[in-house]
């Protein structure tokens, strides 16, 4: 009998999908595997490949205890294929097929739509690893380095998860797409990653924290909507990915939080009350709060662009066909078909922002983005608690969603972070206060000096409250290979 909770290690690829009896897919995956290993080896600098990293590896999909921690060299990490357990009698949660049994095979009618969604999701997973490939060299501590690598190997596993679906359910086409996922490269001129935000390098650790907080959260929302898919294998895959994704956002939230905490601490130690006394604050080797706000503005708005057009036929089709649901679809109290429902969507009328009602079916993207914004606000509140506790008069804020947008109704219009429509001249005048400029970047870069001593942290960041796997403060999270 197939054990669908515990992970089987009887094949090269750990899995809970009975791979050892599915020769067809096993063969395809084993053929894909060397290309993946090459990709990984070419990517991450060599000395880190040879280092021993204290990583968690999934051993079960039981939410109560799914991971075990141990030292492992990253190329030997057991990237596995893990699906959340099948829910007996699950039905398609939304759209015209709502209530029918969930599909266990790809319905031919929606094959291309499903494939496209899986390929787009799959493309983002390795992209972020590529964007973050050099950060190990400037890690502010071994603890942070370990977190970076944990996120990286798990993004790698997410790629595996998508490749598994392509191999298992999409035949020769699927195999071709899986190969192409290794062909595209973040930032490449030849074959860039599919989404713009995934082609920018992550230049420093504050960017990394912001990225994992804001952009991984976009990933989370996409996974949440795919977890509602009527195509059950996709739903199950995404449900398990979400348990891992939580850690990525934890890394982001605590990373930004610890940066803020350190700044507040330095300000207090040195009697600086004015958070805008930037020069003085920076002279102590920490990042001033206004600059952190600017980074927040940038990453939040870039992530909003990932949700696409507010009104979208593709999104409507995906929902109506039952291929993709809304955030927490099963907890929404409506007909799950959106036959006559409407949803308020931003629009520009005579240069003014208005929200007006459109058929809810076409506003699926807008709704998911609203859910995202609410979700993203939580961590910002917790950051403000840190500032408040230090008694500093400063508040981090999510900018208005019209600010700095390149996609959707706000694109080609200029707004300030409060959401006021302003002239291009006014925007140019204010932009240095709203978005990080070159000098800010240079300053942050100047702080990016590696700290490889166990238990020691770079000047600009506070240590964590608790260690990973409850390890003590001086635990050696990475046994560096120094060649």
């Amino acid at each position: 009998m197939l054990d669908l909770i515990n992970v089987s290690y009887d094949t090269l690829i750990p899995n809970n999908v009975g791979l050892s009896t599915d020769k067809r897919v096993l063969k395809a995956l084993e053929k894909w595997h060397p290309g993946y290993i090459n990709w990984w080896n070419d990517l991450i600098p060599d000395n880190f490949q040879k280092s021993l990293v204290y990583l968690r590896t999934a051993v079960s999909v039981d939410p109560k205890g799914w991971a075990k921690f141990d030292y492992v060299k990253m190329p030997e990490y057991r990237w596995g294929i893990l699906l959340a357990p099948q829910v007996e009698g699950r039905t398609i949660p939304c759209g015209e097929h709502a209530g029918q049994p969930a599909w266990q095979e790809v319905p031919g009618e929606y094959r291309n739509m499903l494939k496209r969604l899986i390929v787009i999701q799959g493309d983002t997973e390795p992209a972020s690893v590529e964007q973050q490939r050099f950060l190990g060299r400037t890690a502010p501590s071994l603890y942070d380095m370990r977190n970076l690598f944990q996120v990286n190997v798990e993004e790698g596993r997410h790629l595996w998860a998508m490749v598994y679906l392509l191999h298992k359910y999409f035949g020769a086409d699927g195999r071709e797409e899986a190969d192409d996922l290794l062909l595209r490269q973040s930032g490449s001129d030849e074959a860039p990653r599919m989404l713009g935000a995934f082609n920018e390098e992550t230049p420093d650790w504050l960017s990394f924290f912001m990225f994992t907080y804001f952009t991984d959260r976009d990933g989370k929302m996409q996974l949440e909507s795919l977890a509602q898919s009527g195509f059950d294998p996709l739903s199950r895959t995404c449900r398990f990915m979400l348990t891992e994704e939580a850690h990525h956002m934890f890394v982001g939230e605590t990373g930004v939080g610890r940066t803020i905490e350190r700044t507040c601490q330095i300000m207090a130690e040195n009697g600086i009350d004015d958070p805008y006394d930037i020069e003085k604050i920076r002279s102590f080797g920490v990042i001033d709060l206004p600059t952190i706000q600017k980074k927040l503005n940038l990453h939040y708005t870039l992530s909003l662009d990932l949700f696409g057009q507010e009104v979208s036929t593709n999104a409507a089709n995906a929902f109506n066909s039952g291929v993709k649901g809304r955030y927490m679809e099963s907890r929404i109290d409506d007909d799950h078909k959106l036959t006559n429902a409407t949803y308020p969507v931003w629009d520009m009328v005579d240069g003014k922002l208005v929200r007006h009602e459109v058929p809810a079916l076409t506003a699926i993207n807008m709704r998911l983005r609203d859910d995202y914004s609410r979700d993203a606000a939580g961590g910002v509140g917790r950051w403000n608690k840190i500032i408040e506790k230090a008694g500093i008069a400063f508040e981090m804020k999510l900018p208005h969603e019209a600010f700095n947008r390149k996609i959707g109704v706000f694109a080609n219009h200029t707004f300030n972070p409060e959401g006021n429509h302003i002239s291009v001249a006014e925007f140019d005048k204010g932009v240095d206060e709203w978005l990080p400029n070159k000098a800010d970047g240079d300053y942050i870069q100047s702080l990016m000096n590696p700290v490889y001593e166990p238990g020691v942290y770079a000047s600009w960041i506070a240590p964590p409250k608790v260690g990973i796997d409850n390890k003590p403060g001086d635990f050696e999270y990475v046994k560096l290979h120094m060649a």
């Binding site: 095979e105 031919g108 009618e109 094959r111 035949g171 020769a172």
Partner: protein, 552 residues
């Protein structure tokens, strides 16, 4: 389904036609029984016709070829006094569903094409001897004959009154044959096609609408004389033919159909049918005498008859079964041997008829408004004439390498000389030429592959199949393709397929099926023709159709 439309018939069942055989000349009388319409609700007055009348005509033409090879000239006449033929029955058209109208027109077009081609293919010339009114579909019957004689009695005439009278087109080849075959000047054709009353006598000759107008008193004599003349100019083929016996078939509850060599598994829920054609179940005839002795039981003739009947049956009776998959099973070498025998003896009348029959049957496939996928499986016999099915399909899928638990011979394609000319499409070039329109040299190169066993890798390399899949992918790829295919709009599929199938030169045939038919089918769904106040509904009430005056 209310009632299955059966295309099988024989002279003992005819209600509408009779043939008088007199050596080299046969006279074909259209004498429609007005009370024997295929459906309720109309009378077939004035020699007007419905599908049932045409099913008989198709049978007449087919039997003329196989049962009466001694006939060189067929004179088409009316069995009624004052009318040659009034065309398709208007009440029938008014009451028929859109799908029925379209299918009816397609079948009547195919029948016109086949007796028109009988002169070139079978040495049988059809001529029309028109007495009385010859209107619309009646004149279209005459147009498909290769010689038209009109009596000059100051009232008999030919006309195409569809446009002014019914707000539809003379869609059974009428418009096309007037310009392309009769080569009537376009402005005169415009005049001719927009008046209700016809053209008679000398003017009909002057306008090239008929070949000859003959004084009424001498008409019958001159017709006989012409027929004799034509017959004298044509070579004799045989003194007697073979009998086409009744075609045995069984239809099960779920719609599946079985014959001796052809079977169709119908799956109405998933809107698909799998059609299997079996290779030879008997040896190649030792001689042409043996072929004649086998009669309607020789392999390729029986296969063609069964396959043709199935095509017609599925087209008319299984409207929602939108995806046909062709497969074959049998010995490919035997297929090649049977075909080689016919090709080697194509000067023999029966061998010739069988080859042309396969050509016509394949043409029926080409104009079938269903998605067609050909599955080249292990154990199949896609060789020579059966290989045509691959390129008639909108797509083809081939099995590659061995499949677990399948010990049938590996899927392979075998080309024959026949693939390079014996079975041209309606565009008058072969399916291979049509397929490789950009690379005529590739078609030449393929000739070097005749007789070779082309397994999946070579077949794919040579562009003979769309996809080849191994054991791992086969089932899923086919399933997903089929599910996707039947989920598309059938209208868009029909339009797309009809456009993609006929690359290359235009012929009268492609113009009839592509242009004339498409326009007619569009008009058939427009309220001006078929709406509650459209011309077809109002016909006979004395009130004209109420037209939207917008030009589209």
């Amino acid at each position: 389904m209310s009632k299955i439309i059966d295309f099988r018939t024989d002279p003992s069942k005819y209600r509408h036609w009779r043939v008088e055989y007199a050596g080299e000349v046969a006279t074909l009388y259209m004498d429609v029984d007005e009370n024997a319409g295929l459906f309720e609700g109309y009378q077939l007055k004035l020699n007007s016709y419905d599908l049932g009348v045409d099913i008989e005509l198709n049978d007449v033409v087919q039997r003329m070829r196989f049962e009466h090879p001694e006939v060189k000239v067929v004179v088409m006449k009316s069995g009624k006094d004052k009318v040659f033929c009034a065309g398709a029955n208007i009440r029938m058209l008014g009451g028929a569903s859109h799908a029925h109208k379209v299918n009816f027109c397609k079948f009547t077009n195919e029948t016109r094409n086949t007796f028109e081609a009988a002169e070139a293919d079978s040495g049988q010339r059809y001529m029309a001897a028109i007495k009385g009114a010859c209107a619309g579909g009646g004149y279209e019957l005459a147009l498909a004959c290769n010689y038209i004689m009109l009596t000059d009695d100051s009232s008999s005439n030919v006309s195409l009154p569809e446009v002014p009278l019914l707000a539809v087109l003379p869609g059974t080849g009428g418009l096309t044959r007037v310009t392309d075959k009769r080569k009537v000047r376009r402005d005169l054709a415009d005049v001719f096609c927009s008046v209700e009353e016809g053209v008679k006598g000398k003017r009909a000759v002057d306008w090239r609408l008929v070949d000859e107008a003959v004084p009424n008193s001498k008409f019958d004599a001159v017709v006989t004389e012409r027929a004799q003349e034509f017959a004298a100019g044509m070579t004799a083929k045989a003194s007697s033919g073979i009998a086409l016996g009744p075609l045995a078939r069984s239809i099960s509850e779920n719609g599946s159909v079985a014959y001796s060599l052809v079977e169709a598994q119908v799956d109405r829920t998933s809107r698909r049918v799998t059609i299997t054609l079996h290779g030879p179940d008997r040896p190649v005839p030792a001689s042409t005498e043996a072929l004649v002795a086998e009669g309607d039981q020789s392999w390729m003739l029986r296969l063609a008859r069964e396959f043709e009947d199935l095509i017609l049956h599925l087209r008319l009776n299984e409207l929602e079964v939108g995806l046909w998959s062709f497969r074959t099973q049998g010995d490919p070498e035997a297929v090649l041997a049977h075909e080689a025998f016919l090709l080697a003896n194509k000067d023999h009348w029966l061998a010739n008829e069988i080859l042309h029959y396969w050509k016509r049957t394949m043409k029926r496939v080409d104009v079938t408004s269903r998605s067609i996928a050909t599955l080249v499986e292990h154990g199949s016999c896609f060789a020579g004439p059966l290989a045509e099915l691959i390129w008639a399909g909108d797509r083809s899928y081939m099995m590659e390498d061995e499949f677990e638990g399948d010990n049938r011979p590996l899927a392979a394609i075998r080309l024959s000389e026949g693939n390079f000319g014996a079975y041209p499409m309606g565009n008058d070039i072969t399916r291979l030429q049509t397929r490789f329109l950009a690379e005529p040299e590739h078609v030449e190169a393929l000739k070097t592959q005749i007789g070779e066993t082309l397994e999946a890798d070579s077949a794919r390399e040579l562009g003979l199949v769309t996809y080849a899949f191994d054991d791992i992918d086969w089932e899923d790829e086919i399933r997903i393709f089929m599910e996707e295919r039947v989920s598309f709009s059938p209208d868009a599929m029909t339009g797309m397929e009809a456009n993609l199938r006929f690359a290359g030169p235009e012929t009268m045939e492609t113009r009839i099926f592509g242009r004339l038919t498409a326009w007619q089918n569009w008009i058939f769904i427009r309220p001006n023709a078929t709406g509650p106040d459209g011309a077809l509904q109002r016909y006979g009430t004395g009130v004209r159709g109420d037209y939207s005056m917008q030009r589209v």
